[in-house]
């Protein structure tokens, strides 16, 4: 019996070692680009291309960061990205939750078809929508405006928000609704006072996803804006790739500055995202 336990312990230890080794390799693979980005942002370009490559700069070089912080244009890009991200996130979560509540709690004519339509929109490659959306946004006279981008991003984020929130709300027993209704709650009261507090992880994971979508998006931000005043962080970074060279230090410094808030945000609500995705995401 003792021998068996020891063998099991040994097996368990071996498994753990293997798991940690694999995890370490994964961490190195996924973290290396970020570490290299940080490294390049802190050294002059000439050192970036030195041989053998140096991960740790020979001296701290902050020119890239100083150029970013001393240029109003880059501050504007950051502000635009934040505004865009927050607006798209707020609207997606609000409208998505209301739509999901309808799908989850009510049966009405065409509800299944509508739900199927929402899911189908996720299957269309976004690149194919560029030209039609470009035309629509110009026709609406929203070209080169923040509202044009918000409206465009909602077309991608809203279906996802509906699907996610619908899946999450489906996991909450209807007994909650019935008890609240008996206590005198209106349908919207049930949603906001009873269901939403329970569905917080689902809301947070939806919000994070939509914020990241708006924050990282490049193609539409480039195509649907033209003024410097309307540019976002990804387009700003691409503008550092010039005809005659790349501003490596500035590009990487701006990438670090652009990544940090999102990284901090994601790390602080990570557990909600995982529980939100696992609870709602798989149900569709």
């Amino acid at each position: 019996m003792k021998y068996t336990t020891s063998k099991e312990d040994h097996q368990k230890l071996t498994n753990q070692i293997v798991i940690y080794c694999v995890l370490c390799v994964c961490v190195i693979i996924f973290a290396f680009p970020l570490i290299w980005m940080l490294s390049v942002s802190l050294k002059p370009t000439v050192e970036t291309f030195s041989l053998p490559p140096k991960l740790i700069p020979s001296s701290l070089y902050l020119d890239g960061y100083l150029k970013i912080f001393n240029n109003d244009q880059y501050t504007r890009f950051l502000l635009n990205s934040y505004l865009l991200g927050l607006a798209v996130t707020g609207l997606s979560v609000l409208i998505g939750t209301l739509a999901a509540y309808g799908f989850s709690r009510y049966r009405f004519f065409g509800d299944r078809a509508a739900k199927l339509f929402v899911i189908t929109t996720q299957m269309v490659p976004t690149i194919t929508l560029l030209i039609p959306l470009f035309g629509v946004i110009v026709w609406l006279k929203l070209y080169d405006t923040m509202w044009g981008l918000i409206l465009t991003y909602l077309t991608f984020s809203l279906p996802y928000a509906v699907i996610m929130m619908n899946g999450y709300l489906d996991t909450i027993p209807k007994d909650f609704d019935e008890a609240a209704t008996i206590d005198g709650c209106t349908p919207l009261g049930v949603l906001f006072k009873v269901l939403l507090p329970v569905a917080a992880p689902g809301i947070i994971s939806t919000a994070i996803y939509t914020f990241l979508l708006a924050w990282n998006e490049f193609l539409f931000a480039l195509a649907l804006t033209r003024s410097i005043e309307m540019r976002t962080v990804p387009v700003g970074i691409s503008m550092m790739v010039g005809e005659f060279g790349l501003k490596w230090d500035e590009m990487m410094a701006f990438s670090v500055i652009g990544s940090l808030p999102v990284l901090i945000l994601f790390m602080s609500v990570q557990r909600f995202v995982i529980s939100g995705l696992s609870a709602g995401g798989v149900k569709g």
């Binding site: 291309f49 041989l51 070209y143 480039l222 003024s227 691409s238 790739v241 010039g242 005809e243």
Partner: protein, 415 residues
């Protein structure tokens, strides 16, 4: 009565504002130049123009270089195109197919222009379909940048002037080891995949060769084959940096700046990048080594007017301002290039850096060549050149076969 007065006042102000607003014409200038140099400089130019022309306002629209061509096409198709367009010569025929550009002949013949057509850099203003489509804002001649420390370390006292010297010195520099190479050949397939126009064409022109016969492809000629053979020879002799198939123009430049290669064939404008990023580099700039002909590939930033512009006269007025002697000299200095209006040369040379002066001296007597402006589907043709040159350097085909294949694929492309 009181409200009536208030309404009258509001109406009067609104009317005055409307009249004032409608009297001012706004034009857009789409370009990537402000992303390359300081944005403040171009905003200053716009302010200067607006001060002299109070009835015209100019909106500066800056796109990253890699996206400008697509932007011009899509903006024009959707109807939101700019009035004044920053152009690159190889885009010309593609734009003409889409009817994006306005012919400039009528504007250029105006007696009130601030410049003389004869004084402009001639390459961009050559006629296509019997018309002129663009004017040069500035010009970037291709030269060879030299790491003098490596040249001396390899046992030579001065940079190469001929192909044979180039090969000899590049091999000797590569033999120094430590990851150092003689010369880079940026033949990456990654868009824009333009390595051949950066390195192969300047060598071809210094050999007296051409890739076009007017507007028809002429790639399978003896001069092209000879130049391809020379490049192949550089690889076989170990003079070329490894990884040509994944090397981009940007990497080629950065490795030169970092002191990892002896020679870099690229526009003279890179001199400022070298000087600012690695001031310790013992650096010189020379004519691209020749094989008998002193000719250089000329590249530049051009300006055109959109055919759909509703304010063509105002657009021309702005272009005319940019080409005027003083303004064009300022643009040339800011972009560290030669002026598009050669009348500005004396102003540029007045405060020019020693490297710029050297560049002007080297190029004063040489023949400028630009063929891509008239090449059909120039951008697509770069990729074909890249693929076939890669194949040749891998040893899969000879220089003659590579030339024939490029010619045949180019003919397919335009048929």
């Amino acid at each position: 009565m009181f409200f009536k007065k208030i309404f009258t006042l509001i109406f009067a102000f609104s009317f005055a504002w409307t009249i004032n607003a409608s009297a001012k014409t706004q034009i857009e200038w789409l370009q990537w130049f402000a992303a390359e140099n300081t944005r403040d400089f171009y905003e200053g130019l716009v302010d200067e123009f607006e001060a002299a022309n109070p009835n015209i306002s100019v909106k500066l629209v800056t796109q990253p270089f890699g996206k400008v061509r697509e932007s011009i096409v899509t903006d024009s198709a959707v109807g939101v195109g700019s009035d004044v367009l920053g152009l690159n010569m190889p885009w010309t025929t593609g734009f003409l197919k889409s009817d994006i550009l306005e012919p400039l002949d009528a504007y250029m013949s105006k007696g009130s222009n601030s410049f003389k057509t004869a004084n402009l850099v001639q390459a961009p203003i050559g006629k296509i379909n019997g018309k002129t489509w663009m004017v040069p804002l500035n010009a970037f001649p291709f030269v060879m940048h030299v790491n003098m420390d490596l040249v001396k370390k390899a046992g030579f006292s001065k940079p190469p002037t001929s192909w044979s010297e180039l090969k000899e010195q590049a091999v000797a520099i590569s033999n120094l080891g430590d990851g150092i190479s003689g010369i880079g050949m940026p033949l990456s397939s990654q868009p824009p995949s333009n390595g051949p126009i950066l390195t192969f064409l300047p060598l071809l022109y210094s050999n007296g060769g051409r890739i076009m016969d007017g507007t028809s492809p002429n790639f399978d000629n003896a001069k092209v084959v000879e130049t391809l053979n020379f490049i192949n020879d550089l690889r076989k002799s170990g003079a070329m940096a490894p990884g040509f198939a994944s090397r981009t123009g940007g990497v080629d430049l950065e490795e030169f700046i970092a002191g990892r290669s002896g020679f870099l064939i690229s526009p003279g404008v890179h001199a400022s990048a070298v000087a600012t990023r690695n001031p310790d580099l013992n650096y010189d700039l020379v004519r691209v080594p020749t094989n008998g002909v002193n000719a250089y590939r000329v590249h530049g930033w051009e300006l055109g007017i959109a055919s759909k512009s509703k304010h063509k006269e105002e657009a021309w007025k702005f272009i005319d301002f940019l080409l005027s002697k003083e303004v064009n000299a300022k643009v040339a200095k800011a972009s560290r290039a030669l002026p598009g209006n050669l009348d500005s040369l004396d102003l540029v040379s007045g405060g020019a850096t020693p490297v710029m002066k050297t560049q002007m001296n080297i190029l004063s007597g040489d023949e400028p060549v630009e063929e891509l402006r008239q090449a059909p589907s120039a951008v697509a043709s770069w990729s074909i050149m890249t693929e076939e040159m890669q194949s040749m350097l891998r040893g899969d085909q000879s220089a003659k076969e590579a030339a024939s294949k490029v010619q045949s694929r180019w003919l397919d492309l335009i048929s």
